[in-house]
Amino acid sequence: MKSVITLSFLLLTLWSFQSTIPYNRNIPDHFPAPKSERISNLDSHTVELGRVLFFDPQFSADQLVSCASCHSPYHSFAHTDHRLSHGAFDSIGRRNAPALFNLAWQEIFMHDGAAHNLQAQSLAPLTSATEMATTLNHIQTIMNTNILYLNLFREAFGTEPTIPKALEALEAFQLSLISVESKYDRVQNGIEKFTDQELEGFKVFEENCANCHPPPLFSTYEFASNGLPIDSNLFDLGRYEQTRKDGDSMQFKVPSLRNLRYTYPYMHDGRFNSLRKVLDHYSPRNGNMGNSPLKTPIAEDDKSDLIAFLKTLNDPNFIFNPNHQFPKWTLTNNAIQNEN
């Protein structure tokens, strides 16, 4: 009887150590239901573990690059002012790092849709020679020998660290990145109103952009060609590189238009530095529509109105959310402990 009580006590101690705290999500009524089922079961400990993993540069081959190096919270988890993303040992990739938010409404990931699953997606940047260039054995070793991770895994999962659990935590953190507090959202909720110029811009947007960038997510998250000519140095064929179907050549995943203020440069290869240049691609000033997916040109005044509307999609609360930022206390203390 005594041994049963002792075992029960041990079990309950472990049980209480792995306490589950639901992650508080705030999804407004004008949003559709998320595609991800996992978002309804997010746990705060798992999200926090994912955040620490996301910001920790120890895992890269040169121990200098983390996920956040190319996906900074202050840039809506994109790599602002960098046309192409930097990786370990000063390597350079061939695509512009996409912004990370509202991933729970997406079913396929990366510019060319290489990942069908957000948990598995992290494997690509972790092991790519031009990104973190690491190995799964290296990651496992760090997690097994670091008291910080041993504790965080016990809190989140009640187990020792494993690669699948680490990927699950990274997925949880990325699912928690929800951007729903722009001026546009407040207008939808009746809290604010558009200015006259923003309202004019919204009309221009609905006529020209909403097919591929429908609100409230401002993307279909499907693949499309926007008429950009191929960069002869990068020779990036987009979706074709995954499917090998001719019709998919130069198709890329349609990005959301939320948070554009923070995510320049634009396009899959970051070739445009400003929204005006993007709009000039879709509707050239000389009126020659070329390969543009638009049927009719957009007048220059209308472009200004459109930009005014696009600015209403910026979400500073998302950008400066402390839950999204570098886990200073956790990682700094861990570094000090390791030095000692």
Binding site: S8, L123, T162
Partner: protein
Amino acid sequence: MLRYAIGVLLLMFNSTKSIGQEIDCQLRASLSDHTIDTIYGNPYGESIVFVKKLKFYIHTAHNGQTSPERALLLSLKNPRQTISIDGPFQVYLGVDSTLNYDGIHEGALDPINNMYWTWQTGYIHCKLEGYILNQSAKRSFEFHIGGYSTKDSGPFWIGQKSDGKSLEVQFDLYPAIEWASKNEVFRITSPGKISDEMAQFFRKGITVL
């Protein structure tokens, strides 16, 4: 007191859970009539085939139900494994399509085993690597067959077992290597038509006893 009572209940629940029967699994790889029992190969016609790596998933299902624990990673380096499963069971080459689509799993399916593509998501059902030596040339080959997007690359049903005590997986690589050699195909590392075609020859060569 309530906590202790819940703890005792949890212990009772765990003790009554069925753990299934331990089954000893053994890989026997061959090239036609020649057995491969080391990481190197055997004479094949006028050429010599050296098999450096053979690594593949088997998944088992009982009453059509499978789980990550019922996946098994067999290789020339680790040809013996055990799994736990109840009653008569079906055996498939590759990773169950639902598990493959679902994401990343633990145990044999942990990507640390290097059987998960990173540039494009999806488990690799089977890896076969090596080279063929003949009088004029040495041609290396590398076949990685898998992914989640094409059904023709697997998984494939390869047999049913009813006694549930042991499982011998006989894998004759001759059909696959012969097809590759005849068609001058020496490298397949992504899903697609040619991968689907090669997969059919893996399927031809594998049986369970």
